[in-house]
């Protein structure tokens, strides 16, 4: 009997090789009902392979791949998902309304056309041929196709690439609306602010493995580095020489310092320069945490497998 807490998508010890390249090397991933999980990682980390496995496009060499407790190659499992892939060229001569009707016909209980169009904000595009749309409009149509089947789980692969800031925020709003309805989302993205804005949990991949899985805050907290900014008369070289300072530079006449011991550095700065002004201390953002994590993974990995995926 399926339990509501069972994961709806799962990779367990999954290995996938392409010839001599190992794209996934014992990857673990679990997605629960109603949550948004962001899958992050540099190019070639294995994100595309992980998504391909969960969509049933490829088969694993070892390990378990499950979608709603079933093999993703079974159509019954895929009737509960919506899909937006990064590069899928839809038939250029079909009109938007025709594309929506076609995709909705694959599902047992799809949304009404008008409801889909309203959610994705494409109501005024229904009569237009797909090829005549702008890049941003095409992305919105692809998003509409992903949600038209009333999915319980939505795969969004780089959904906001090529969108301007306003369009991106509109899409974020629509994604939040779907999550509020109870839809789970597996998001891959290069934009860390996107993960920060949307994700309940993030999963960082490198070299075919999941090297971190947890909340956005937990990921940030894994990196002890904090940033200090101030205006100061102190010489850059002198500050660089302090043992607590891991990095220091000047930018727009502001001193930027990275350190794991922010309190000690601040005390020393104030002691050394009484005229110091505009002092700011910040915890590292997701971007720094991410860079640091993947750099550690790079250092730990004996072979470079970036080409794999």
């Amino acid at each position: 009997m399926p339990h509501p807490d069972d994961p709806i998508a799962r990779l367990d010890g999954v290995v996938k090789r392409y010839g001599r390249l190992t794209a996934l090397d014992g990857a673990e991933l679990q997605l629960r009902r109603g949550e948004l999980l962001a899958l992050l990682g540099p190019n070639g980390a294995g994100k595309t392979t992980a998504i391909g496995l969960l969509l049933g496009l490829i088969r694993a060499d070892a390990g378990t791949v499950e979608l709603f407790g079933q093999d993703p190659q079974r159509i019954q499992a895929r009737r509960r998902i919506g899909v937006m892939l990064q590069n899928a060229a839809l038939p250029p001569t079909l009109r938007v309304g025709e594309l929506l009707r076609l995709t909705a016909s694959y599902y047992p209980a799809p949304r009404a056309l008008a409801e889909t169009a309203a959610l994705a904000g494409i109501g005024e595009l229904l009569q237009r041929p797909y090829a005549k749309l702008s890049g941003g409009q095409q992305r919105r149509v692809q998003f509409a196709l992903a949600l038209c089947g009333r999915p319980e789980l939505l795969f969004l692969d780089e959904p906001t690439v090529g969108l301007d800031i306003e369009a991106r925020q509109r899409l974020w709003l629509a994604i939040r609306q779907l999550i509020a309805e109870g839809c789970a989302v597996l998001l891959t993205t290069h934009y860390l602010e996107e993960a920060e804005a949307l994700a309940d949990r993030v999963c960082v991949m490198a070299h075919g493995r999941v090297i971190h899985a947890g909340s956005v805050d937990a990921l940030r907290a894994r990196v002890a580095i904090r940033r200090i900014r101030c205006r100061s008369a102190l010489a850059l070289e002198a500050v660089r020489g302090w043992p607590e300072v891991s990095e220091a530079r000047l930018e727009n006449q502001q001193l930027h310092i990275s350190t794991a011991a922010a309190e000690a550095v601040v005390r020393r700065l104030l002691d050394a320069d009484s005229g110091l002004s505009e002092l700011e201390v910040q915890r590292a953002g997701l971007a720094e945490a991410f860079t640091e994590l993947t750099r550690d993974a790079d250092a730990a990995s004996p072979t470079d497998q970036r080409e794999a995926a």
Binding site: L55, G56, L57, I58, F68, I75, Q76, R78, R79, R80, I81, V83, L85, Q86, N87, A88, A89, L90, P91, T93, L94, E98, L99, R101, L102, T103, S105, Y106, Y107, P108, A109, R111, A112, A114, E115, A118, L119, P129, G149, R150, E152, F155, Q177, E181, G182, C183
Partner: protein, 265 residues
């Protein structure tokens, strides 16, 4: 807008099962979309319909009277065969090669499209185009060249065209699994045109060198041409071997294609 959104939990029960009528509807939608797509793509429809018609009009009707009274009848069969090969080879081969390359096939495989809907839709489209080609050429034969054909013969020719497209669909499918992307039209033309020539569709086989005549049965188009000839009353020989050969070609190409698709996607 909020009021229009029904919740996921409200529809949880019906999710995994799909009534048969809806599955059938998905097949219909797929076929409808595929046909609409190609009807709106002049770069596919125009050459496919115009080449056999223009060739037949020129070589089969205006320039053919010098070759005796039966030339328009003989070449009707040849050019219907020539025309029917194209929607199969190009409709399947080129579109599969492009769609494997541009991500559309991957998206369709990830979506819960009923298995087979993709291929059935393309097959239906190729069949319709083949029927259209046969009807256009028949019209020219009857009304322009005044070829005397009985209703049975016309029906037999259209049926030959409609069924005869299938081995070329299978062959196109296999070719489409071998190549990816923009190189496909060129490569498929490299298969299509020599095969048409070597099967005697442009020049009657007896005009070709002896050894080319001997290898003609290697090409599926040769066998389809024999059947089309029989339909218009120009071949009194046995038909079953040719029909069975075409069924064999279809089966082999289908097998090769599905094996490659399963392995390489």
């Amino acid at each position: 807008m909020d009021s229009m959104i029904s919740t996921v939990s409200g529809t949880v029960v019906a999710v995994a099962t799909m009534p048969r009528a809806r599955v059938f509807g998905a097949y219909l939608q797929e076929a409808r979309s595929e046909c609409l797509r190609y009807l709106r793509t002049p770069s596919f429809m125009l050459p496919t319909l115009l080449f056999p018609s223009v060739f037949y009009l020129m070589f089969g009707i205006f320039l053919a009277h010098a070759n005796g009274p039966d030339a328009p009848r003989y070449l009707l069969a040849s050019y219907v065969t020539f025309g029917v090969m194209a929607p199969g080879l190009f409709g399947f081969g080129v579109s599969l090669a492009l769609e494997r390359d541009n991500g559309l096939l991957a998206l369709k495989r990830a979506l819960p499209m009923p298995p087979g809907a993709y291929l059935l839709a393309k097959m239906l489209m190729a069949t319709l185009v083949a029927a259209a080609i046969a009807l256009i050429l028949l019209g020219m034969a009857v009304f322009v060249a005044h070829v005397d054909l009985s209703a049975d013969q016309m029906l037999a020719l259209v049926a030959t065209a409609v069924l005869g497209v299938l081995p070329f669909c299978a062959m196109g499918l296999w070719l489409g699994t071998l190549i990816k992307g923009q190189g496909a039209p060129g490569l498929i033309n490299l298969t299509y045109l020599p095969m048409a020539f070597l099967s005697g569709l442009w020049f009657p086989l007896p005009l070709l060198p002896k050894w080319l005549q001997q290898i003609a049965p290697v090409w599926p188009s040769y066998h389809l041409d024999r059947l089309a000839m029989a339909a218009v009353g120009m071949n009194k020989g046995a038909l079953l071997p040719h029909a069975l050969t075409l069924v064999g070609f279809t089966a082999v190409f289908l097998l090769l294609a599905t094996r490659r698709l399963r392995r390489c996607g």
